[in-house]
């Protein structure tokens, strides 16, 4: 390639622009420019012209941009970027550290400023963050492809609803119980099937998710089938968030406030926010603990793990159970937030969505999963007009991501260790 001069070549840009314009004319000309009207057709040259003009203007701007110093540097970075895992230096401190307290403060203030509608979307986003974090342990860290994660989500949600209906257990008692129930069902499912690898495991878990949904649909005496069950709201030291309470005073009367249905969302949001922070912290610790390292080692090479004395079945099982219990927690929040659960919330599409969050965020990356969970739940809400094209856009997003950043939004980094004097005891 010849040595390029620093100047911007307008001629080259114009050439690009004309080619792009011609292509746009070919593509949009017949599609937009010819409108059938009975047996006649009308030519709409104006529409075509405006579309072609937009394309040409865009191409010209792009062409000029890519010739500027900044543009060249940008393209160079994009073409040579290395998506692989990096190990940070032992004393490395991220420049983005200040963002953690900032996010916590904003997160705690937000519910008192945001409108009820925004709050409900953020709650949904946080529920998917929980689900994404749970599945990230199973898929991202331990490398077990789980297509039935929604089963554990359903167990958590129905645990709250049915526990309240049959045993009178409220939100607070069901929160840990649902996590334990989901973990136990994860263990029951996992123990026989975790000896399998890859594809087989994916099929078995897919079956598990469907079994749970079918049981919930068909066991009508217990689960009320497709009619669903109502789920209780959380209480603040026994104070309920309803307009009128059967026993005791409701929250707003106790504090002498006018009734507002937003209170319950604020309360759910605050609990959920704290639970998400706790789960994030646990996840952060897990990757620095022997068990977290064992999961990742198992993902890398199972045979080598066995040769090092790791019981691969138990290591996988622990990942499966911890992931499942996080899914169960998310289920409880989902049930209490909706106030009602029915089996149609726990379809395979939901599993696929959670898996998409993990893949989009980057396998094993915590920050990536949080971002991806919000993108994939908040974006559909923002684009309500395009609701019909939701799945299509979802697919396009996935394809683009796989081409552009196959390893996920956020690159996985590993913490380095300072060199020290080695000793054996």
């Amino acid at each position: 390639m010849s040595q390029q001069t620093n100047g911007i070549s307008i001629a080259a840009a114009v050439k690009d622009t004309i080619i792009a314009g011609l292509l746009a004319l070919i593509v949009f000309g017949p599609v937009v420019g010819v409108l059938l009207d009975g047996y006649e057709f009308n030519l709409r040259a104006g529409d075509v012209a405006s579309i072609v003009a937009v394309v040409m203007a865009g191409r010209f701007a792009l062409s000029v941009f890519s010739q500027t110093e900044f543009g060249k540097a940008f393209l160079y970075r994009q073409s040579t970027k290395d998506d692989g895992v990096v190990v940070t230096a032992p004393d490395y401190k991220s420049k983005m550290r200040f963002i953690i307290p900032l996010v916590i403060v904003i997160g705690l203030i937000a519910p008192f400023i945001a409108s009820k509608y925004v709050l409900t979307i953020v709650i949904l986003g946080l529920i998917y963050v929980l689900l994404g974090l749970g599945l990230n342990i199973v898929v991202g860290l331990a490398g077990l492809l789980d297509l039935g994660f929604v089963g554990f989500y359903a167990i958590g949600a129905y645990g709250l609803a049915l526990g309240y209906e049959n045993l009178g257990l409220g939100f607070w008692s069901m929160l840990p119980l649902a996590a334990i129930m989901a973990a136990i069902s994860g263990a029951i499912l996992g123990f026989p099937v975790l000896r399998m690898h890859g594809d087989y495991l994916a099929i078995v878990t897919l079956g598990f998710g469907e079994i749970i949904r079918l049981v919930l649909t068909n066991w009508t005496e217990f689960t009320h089938g497709p009619n669903g069950v109502s789920a209780p709201l959380p209480t603040l030291f026994g104070l309920e968030f309803k307009r009128r309470s059967k026993e005791g005073t409701p929250f707003h009367e106790f504090f002498g406030l006018p009734y507002d249905s937003a209170y319950k969302y604020i309360f759910i949001y605050l609990i959920l926010f704290l639970v998400v922070l706790a789960v994030l912290y646990v996840k952060h610790r897990l990757t620095r603990m022997p068990i977290g390292r064992a999961w990742e080692a198992l993902r890398e090479d199972e045979i080598a793990c066995r040769s090092l004395g790791l019981n691969h079945v138990l290591v996988k099982l622990s990942a499966f159970m911890l992931g499942a219990s996080t899914g169960g927690l998310a289920g409880v929040f989902f049930a209490t937030y909706q106030g009602f659960v029915n089996p149609s919330s726990f379809t395979f599409f939901e599993s696929a969505l959670i898996l998409a969050i993990v893949v989009l965020g980057g396998m094993g990356s915590t920050v990536g999963v949080v971002i991806a969970a919000f993108v994939l739940t908040v974006l559909p809400e923002m684009l309500r007009e395009f609701a019909d094209y939701r799945v299509l856009m979802f697919g396009i997003l996935m394809v683009v991501m796989m081409i552009w950043k196959p390893r996920g939004l956020v690159r996985v980094t590993r913490t380095g260790f300072a060199t020290r004097k080695g000793t054996v005891k």
């Binding site: 022997p290 019981n311 590993r414 080695g422």
Partner: protein
Amino acid sequence: MSQDNILKVENLVMHFGGIKALNDVTFDIKRGSVSALIGPNGAGKTTVFNCLTGFYKATGGSILLDAGGKQTSVVKVLGEKFKGSDFTSPASFFERVKYKMFGGSHLVNRAGLARTFQNIRLFKEMSVVENLLVAQHMRVNRGMMSGILNTKAFQKSEEEALQRAFYWLEVVHLTEFANRLAGELSYGQQRRLEIARAMCTNPEIVCLDEPAAGLNPSETEALASMIRVLRDEHNTTVLLIEHDMGMVMNISDYIVVLDHGEVIAKGGPDDIKSNPKVIAAYLGAEEGEEVTL
């Protein structure tokens, strides 16, 4: 079984369908020795290794490992079929069930036998130190709560594990690469790291599957001295499969020669060098020429 034999292999038989990969293999490995398993390609060396380390369940015969103050039957910990006598003795029944449910090759490692692989099996997307930390899984504080709360005891155990990891990195001359990804290392470095990783499990016997494959002469020389360090400073018995005869003859105290799944010779390097059966196996014998000992 005498105390100075760490490994006792008796009448080991391994069939894959109709193929008899191993046929009546018997040998003992002395504690604190460097032993080599040699033979032409396809002789069954790696099959013996996989049986010893529990990756294959032997069709017949016994493998007894005398390490860590107790004897372990490698065939048994992999989970055997139920026998008639199990149904009369609950103790042996439950032991059988236990090994069937939780048994496997990891128990062989826990009993004190570590191995490396012919095709290197490192955790490629983890750092070099982390590879060594994973190997110490059974020795560190694995408590869930202590890890999450990052207690003093947990930090102490992690620090000890790190010190051990750096000790082994020094032994294999990889300290400067501690924070690199294992997959980024060169081939020779990966081989050395794999040995260090096996040693981090604190084994009494380490089985190296072709450790010198793909190494240049000076790297092979360094490897030989490293193996001597394992034996002399860490009292580790070394069993290796190797094709580099110069290195085998140089460092081994004892050599077992396999051909077509059978042991054709065993003894010291000098005996093996002059053994006509071994020469015939490697170089081929003339038609009609009788090979006698």
